[in-house]
């Protein structure tokens, strides 16, 4: 099946720069650039059968087309234009100001909005160049930054904005037929983001300490997402701007050299910490409708509804009071705060957020002569998780052997030992004789904090002197051992690798150069 590919693209750029230093202390840099591009790609493929000799793969050697065979092709073409204006101004290497403006246009965007403007401003202050700090030996570098900017993204295909039709490759008698590709949405607009950033960078004590702190507030407007429809529409979903989301947070990173001796022992530790709070500020009517639908959904999966004032990853389940020791049935709290025995989809409330409070990684490096040890940990604290495997393996087990996954043969031992059996049993899991489906309740929402040693690496680099002496032909030689996912500590117990195999790698490698 030979495929012919054709790609054609071109790009054009014009850049205009203007630099000037006034009165020795004012530096101005301006740049204006204009660019345009066109890219086309086409493929044709033809399948043929009946080649007389196995090594004669040229298309002309084929005997025939396969029955019902036909050539197929793909085509894609897009054009874009963009222009950027940058102005940077520096005063006395102490104060900085940036201004940038951008116009972007692409053929992929809807006809009414092919181009969009974006801009940003930034200010910076190099405190270490100020006279009151300049002479402080402890401070190598200290800088404050502030910026504000807008940006846009448009991750939808052209046919999602405009209603477009495509042709069937199959004919009908001697006619051709077309069909609608998707439900177009002419109201679709760019997803725009406004971001404020405040930052501080410093290097202290002869570059032994390095600290960076950033605060940000990011407002995403006209958030793009798929909105599901009743399938009587003929389509399962369409793209729409669904609302406004704010992400607010802090990012900190630090690195310390505790020991620094190039010939002896060097030890550094570092890490970062991220805290982010996600909040939905506004949702569209279409999404509100979808929420109502999701609210009535039953099943063992929790719902992720989009509600104003909550995080996008909020888990909605029915509040559970646990298992009644007398009967082995689960007791719920309905939305009016009354104890009830039955699970009702409409009693779902926000029960936790599937986002950690803080997360990040920690790393350390220890070097003694030619031996280097690197370890990297990742951690996260205070994340709520719906323990799906626990529900599936202990309570929602099937009583027949005909199920697709044949669950009878793949049970957790707790399905037999830890479920309620006799009145008075104080258990976490419901009555053992109850084979009904366990629906999503807060009983399975758990707070997770975890620490993982994500990679460990030990390397020995042979010194050039040693090599010259013993292995003359070699210029460089390193032997290293590597392991990933060495251990994993978590506050909750759950199975891993039930959907995708869980892997742990160990490797030894030798790198050399002659």
């Amino acid at each position: 099946m030979p495929t012919v590919r054709g790609n054609f693209s071109y790009e054009g750029d014009i850049t205009l720069n203007y630099n000037k230093t006034f009165a020795e202390r004012h530096q101005l840099y301006t740049g204006l650039s204009f660019s345009a591009g066109d890219s086309q790609s086409e493929t044709y493929s033809i399948t043929a059968v009946g080649f007389s000799a196995i090594n004669m793969a040229n298309l002309g050697m084929a005997g025939a087309y396969p029955p019902d065979g036909k050539p197929s092709s793909t085509e894609a073409r897009s054009r874009r234009v963009g222009s950027i204006l940058n102005i940077n101004y520096t005063f006395d290497s102490r104060y900085f100001a940036d201004l940038s403006g951008k116009m972007e246009g692409s053929s992929k965007f809807g006809a009414n909005k092919r181009t969009a403007p974006f801009w940003s401003v930034g200010l910076g202050w190099n405190l270490h160049n100020e006279s009151f700090i300049k002479n402080n030996k402890a401070i190598d570098n200290l800088r404050l930054r502030a910026s504000y900017g807008t940006s846009g993204s448009q991750n939808f295909s052209s046919y999602q904005a405009l209603t477009t039709y495509r042709y069937f490759s199959q004919g009908y008698e001697f006619w051709n037929g077309s069909y609608m590709i998707a439900l177009g949405n002419s109201d679709l607009t760019w997803q725009t983001t406004k971001q404020v950033n405040l930052g501080l960078e410093t290097t202290l004590f002869n570059r032994r300490v390095n600290i960076k702190v950033d605060f940000y507030n990011k407002l995403t407007e006209s958030l793009l997402a798929d909105i599901n429809l009743p399938t009587a529409a003929g389509y399962e979903s369409y793209k729409a701007n669904i609302g406004e989301v704010r992400n607010r947070g802090v990012e900190m990173s630090a690195n310390f050299f505790l020991l620094r001796d190039p010939k002896g022992l060097t030890w550094s530790v570092g890490g970062n910490l991220i805290h982010n709070r996600n909040e939905i500020l506004k949702i569209s009517n279409a999404l509100e409708f979808l929420n109502d639908e999701l609210m009535t959904a039953t099943g063992s999966n929790p719902s992720f509804l989009y509600k104003e004032g909550e995080s996008m990853n909020t888990i909605y389940v029915v509040k559970s009071l646990g298992i009644d020791p007398a009967t082995g049935n689960e007791i719920f709290l309905n939305k009016d705060g009354v104890r009830v025995d039955t699970w009702n989809a409409e009693d779902k409330v926000a029960c936790g957020v599937d986002d950690p409070n803080v997360w990040g990684n920690l790393r350390t490096m220890l070097r003694w002569k030619n031996l280097t040890l690197n370890a990297s940990f990742s951690y996260s604290l205070g994340r709520d998780i719906y323990n799906q495997t626990l529900v599936d393996k202990v309570e929602n087990i099937s009583t027949t052997r005909s199920g697709v996954n044949n669950p009878w043969n793949n049970l957790d031992r707790r399905a037999l030992y830890d479920r309620w059996q006799n009145p008075g049993d104080n258990t976490y899991f419901k009555r053992i004789t109850d084979f009904s489906t366990t629906y999503a309740s807060s009983r399975f929402v758990m707070e997770e904090s975890e620490l993982r040693l994500s990679s460990l690496n030990l390397a020995y680099e042979f010194s050039p002197e040693w090599l010259r002496k013993h292995l003359k032909f070699m210029e460089y030689l390193t032997v290293s051992c590597y392991a990933d996912d060495v251990f994993h500590l978590s506050t909750i117990k759950r199975e891993r690798g039930t959907t995708y195999p869980f892997a742990r790698n160990f490797s030894v490698s030798i790198a050399t150069r002659f």
Binding site: L32, A36, E42, P67, D68, S73, E75, A76, R77, S78, R79, R80, V81, S83, L85, M103, G105, S106, S107, A111, R114, T115, S158, Y159, L162, T163, T164, Y165, R166, Y167, F168, Q170, G171, Y172, E173, F174, W175, G177, S178, Y179, M180, I181, L183, G184, N185, I227, N228, L229, P230, T231, A232, A233, G234, Y235, E236, A286, E293, L294, T296, V404
Partner: protein, 496 residues
């Protein structure tokens, strides 16, 4: 700073100018896609969308396989697999299990394909009136009539699948969505009551009937319409879009759909007896004549059957043309791993072969070919849709003349059964047996199976007449709920 300001203004001005000139440059047309405004700028665009609906109907997800051979025929126990093997979908559907993952996915696909076809028609119909001036040769009425009629027909089909047995239908219960617009408003895509759905179907069939009053099928014979070229050069030169009326939703398809409709609503609580209306429309199809007095649709004969054309093309009131039929149907039926076979002795019972040895469908292994496969043994191939082992009939019938006969027989014209019996060359001893309603029902149960094996009509027969037991291939009792298909989850999620 004044100079700076001026420079800045010039820059902004240049950028704005450059970019606005670019808007046109950014407007490119993809080669394999066509924009809405372009699609509706020519008559061709409307034709293509209508044809697109038929092509989707002919695909495997609808009448090319799933809604004829698979879904309804599996539920009515028509298929089995070779002893010692199993097929998950067959096990689910013959056990009336509509919640297994294979059943669910089949129902989802079917539902979506039906409504996707309807969306093609809706988008065409939304634009056709404003572009009326584009059309020539009466194509405005033809295309609009076909599209409205087909929309009603498809909703009736969805309704027949997703409704319970007749006695359980209440006019004010929710049935299925009736979708007439291309819309993103979920409220317009929710289920409507039986009353609303049925009113819409009959209203739209009436509109289609009026619009198709000049259908070429009324002027020309099917033989002429199925042989483009023969009319060219003569006085009868016609528009290319007027050919092949049997594979388009033609004037008689509207009549046949009405006959089906009145039989479907017969005896629904609150509606009463509509048999005379069903018979009236069935007879209009049966008695339809060409200008020379010959019949428009004729019952299949020995030579057609001998050739292997067991769907009897001269009986097709409405069929869909599937150019990939050979690929699909060969794979479905001519493998001994198929889930579409049946036991030899059971088939002999179904076709009453001892009584009717010369039935043109069944004799000489025409419908069922018995073969001995090495290492596998005795095996029955179903060859209704395949002329030979290597070619299938491209036209899959959706409504046939024989069904019109059965409707008439059930609705006050049992005398017509004899005409059908003679055409199929069955034994004359059954001629005078249709003495009362029960006898007619008993005969029709057998005849629907023989005639529509693999075409799916048996399932609707059972639901329509409130059956709670199958007698063939084995006795099986069930409750009415067992024949009721659940709405797919993707729809149900939105239903309050």
């Amino acid at each position: 700073m004044n100079i700076m300001k001026q420079i800045f203004n010039i820059i902004i001005l240049t950028l704005t100018l450059a970019l606005s000139a670019c808007n046109e440059w950014l407007d490119i047309n993809p080669a394999l896609e066509i924009r809405e405004e372009e699609s509706f700028s020519t008559e061709q665009g409307f034709q293509d969308l209508l044809v697109g609906a038929y092509i989707r109907m002919a695909s495997s997800s609808l009448y090319g396989l799933n809604t004829t051979v698979v879904l309804p025929e599996m539920i009515t126990q028509h298929w089995t697999v070779r002893a010692g093997t199993s097929n998950e979908l067959l096990t689910s559907l013959t056990g009336f299990d509509y919640t297994s993952s294979v059943s669910k996915s089949l129902l989802e696909t079917t539902w979506l394909a039906y409504y996707k076809t309807i969306s093609n028609l809706n988008s065409l119909l939304a634009h056709i009136d404003e572009k009326k001036a584009l059309f020539t040769d009466g194509n405005y009425e033809l295309i609009k009539g076909e599209a409205i009629g087909l929309r009603a027909f498809l909703h009736l089909e969805i309704l027949r699948f997703w409704s319970p047995v007749t006695s359980q239908i209440n006019l004010d219960d929710k049935a299925i969505p009736y979708v007439k617009t291309v819309t993103k408003d979920p409220n317009e895509l929710l289920t409507r009551t039986y009353r609303e759905v049925l009113d819409n179907i009959i209203n739209e069939l009436d509109q289609a009937e009026a619009l198709l009053a000049d259908d070429p099928i009324l002027t020309y014979t099917n033989t002429q319409l199925n042989a483009p070229g023969t009319l060219q050069g003569s006085d009868l030169t016609i528009n290319d879009f007027h050919y092949f009326r049997q594979v388009r939703f033609n004037y008689y398809a509207v009549k046949a759909a009405k006959a089906r409709y009145y039989l479907f609503i017969n005896n629904i609580n609150g509606i009463g007896d509509t048999k005379s209306l069903a018979a009236r429309y069935a007879l209009e199809v049966i008695e339809a004549q060409n200008s020379d007095g010959s019949l428009k649709f004729t019952l299949g004969n020995e030579s057609e059957a001998g050739y292997g054309r067991l769907t009897f093309p001269t009986e097709h009131v409405f069929a869909v043309n599937n150019s990939l039929a050979t690929t699909t149907l060969k794979a479905a039926f001519f493998e001994y791993t198929t889930a579409f076979t049946q036991d030899k002795t059971k088939l002999a019972t179904a076709y009453e072969s001892a009584l009717h040895p010369l039935d043109i469908r069944y004799r000489d292994q025409r419908l069922w070919e018995n073969k001995t496969i090495p290492l596998v043994g005795d095996f029955n191939y179903f060859r209704k849709f395949n002329d030979t082992e290597t070619t299938a009939e491209a036209d899959m019938p959706l409504m046939r003349l024989s069904e019109m006969y059965f409707i008439a027989v059930e609705c006050g014209r049992p005398d017509l059964f004899r005409t059908f019996r003679i055409a199929r060359n069955m034994d004359s001893s059954i001629d005078d047996t249709l003495i009362d309603e029960d006898a007619i029902k008993e005969r029709l149960e057998k005849e629907y199976r023989k005639e529509f094996y693999g075409e799916g009509q048996m399932y609707f027969f059972y639901k329509r007449l409130n059956y709670t037991k199958f007698t063939w291939p084995a006795a099986l009792s069930f409750s009415w709920e067992n024949l009721l298909l659940p709405l797919p989850d993707s729809q149900l999620l939105f239903e309050i």
